[in-house]
Amino acid sequence: MAILETRKLDKWFGGLHVTDEVDFTLEQGEIHCLIGPNGAGKSTFFKLVLGEHSPSGGAILYDGKDITKAKSFERIRHGISVKFQVPGIFQALKVRQNLQIALQHHLQGASLNEETDRLLEFLKLKDAENQLAGSLSHGQKQWLEIGMAVALKPKLLLLDEPTAGMTPDETHATGEMVQALNAEGVSVLAVEHDMAFVRQIAQKVTVLHFGKVFAQGTINEIVADERVASIYLGEVHA
């Protein structure tokens, strides 16, 4: 069953057709990566799913429900969660408090503290729990934000370039985190540039080009597709 589905999703910015009737399906329990050259419309698609942009046409279905008109925070309450490209954390607050603000939705008292500790371990941030979040290294900030996104116990996790600016080791560790979450039943949609990371985690890949779905398949099918290689090199313009 599909956890996320878009039907003829359309977005115009003035005369620019950024999302062009995109039909997209993400199955329950799948890790699905969205790739494409710069300007392909990945970020716009992402923001449409998140409710930061409203579409010019088409529909977005989450878990069978039409959420096209739902506000961002309502989509989050339905079970979608997001990690942004630039770490979206609360810089002036302590690491622990960052997580607790996310967790206090559904927990309180002792269970809130237990779950915070568990998450800190999972994120390898136990030693930094009393530091201000702004003082963490870039990779740690990315993990903290993943932790905040996961704290909501989402059914669908959206990741916008989760490994941007990470070292290869950090990237690999992030991939393992994503796989561990997926093993617990979380479906994942990731926009990603780093092909090593895509290769590590993706069960399915969709290539966007000029706002349209250009190709779809497993990572091996996509890599073998010459048309895909050529759009990255700038030879195909349709």
């Binding site: 506000k71 925070f73 989050i76 609360f90 810089q91 607790q100 603000i101 206090q104």
Partner: protein, 358 residues
Amino acid sequence: MPRGNKTTSVLKLLEGPQTLGKGPGFWSGCAVVLALACAYPLFADGYDVGNNVYFFNWVFMALGLSLIWGYGGALSFGQTAFFGVAGYAYGVFTINLGDAYGLTLVSLVAAVGLSALFAGVLGYFLFFGRISGVFLGIVTLSVTLVLERFMSQTAGPEWAIGSARLNGFNGMGGMPSLTIPWFGADIALYPDVGLYYLTLALLVVVYLALRMLVNSRFGNVLVAIRENPQRAEMLGYDIRRYQLVAFVIGSALAGLSGVLYTAWGNYITPSSMGMSAAALPVVWVAVGGRSDLTTTLFGTLLVLAGFQYLTIYGSQYALVVMGFLLVVTILLAPSGIFISLGSFFSRGLRRRQARESI
């Protein structure tokens, strides 16, 4: 949850990540300060004590602005609008209703309620219209300036509500002081020791209640919105609602200041909503340290005392000094004088310890 547990968990909120000061040391310090404040009337002339209630009157507005701006990250430049609305409302209510049967207290509550309602309507359009940053400051400042202009042209006899004349730029006077109904003889709280204790008690209650509010789950979300509104929303919080609630509470406190001020001096003028009046709360709160209730409280009292001193001896220069103080604070001590001094001394101490250990 059993009742006892609930009380303890509520009291626990007096300390937390959003407020400076915890443990026996802090609370005994608080107790000493409070005891000194309580003892003050024993050593001073009743007239002076009554006069000095003036300083307490403003602190409510400052604490409210700390909640909206320091904790919520929304700079309202027009808290005086709510001060004025509540002050005038108290005047209109009490002049028409009189001071018997505790009606001044009913008027106090009604006037504060009216300012909260006004903040609710204005805040709804501001926050649900996603107005933020400098635009929020511009709109709120405009509102208070419009109200000042409007009240200034109400000098004619046609501008009266019941028997209360609004009196234009001359200001409205003649409203009764707060009066507590008592068997036999009502107690009118003229600026004297009685009013001092009442205002002090209100101040303590409001300060402690705000501490609990900002350390609660609500306060957690409020500072999260200040730090990163997008992230807060993407954790599933309807941030508009939180900002609106903080705005209404903070503005009701500005209204409380307005009522206390009007009842204290039996007088309110449109200039209480004017440009310089609107700027002053921002100075008090910024200088003391807006992101903490305690630094706001003491900073406000300190700046007010300094301002009063300068007004008496330096007349017009006082406002220039206030402006200078704001600029210096923003440039040198953006988190307020208390926090900056504290970190300056602790840095110096650490450096000395490091030198000695070599």
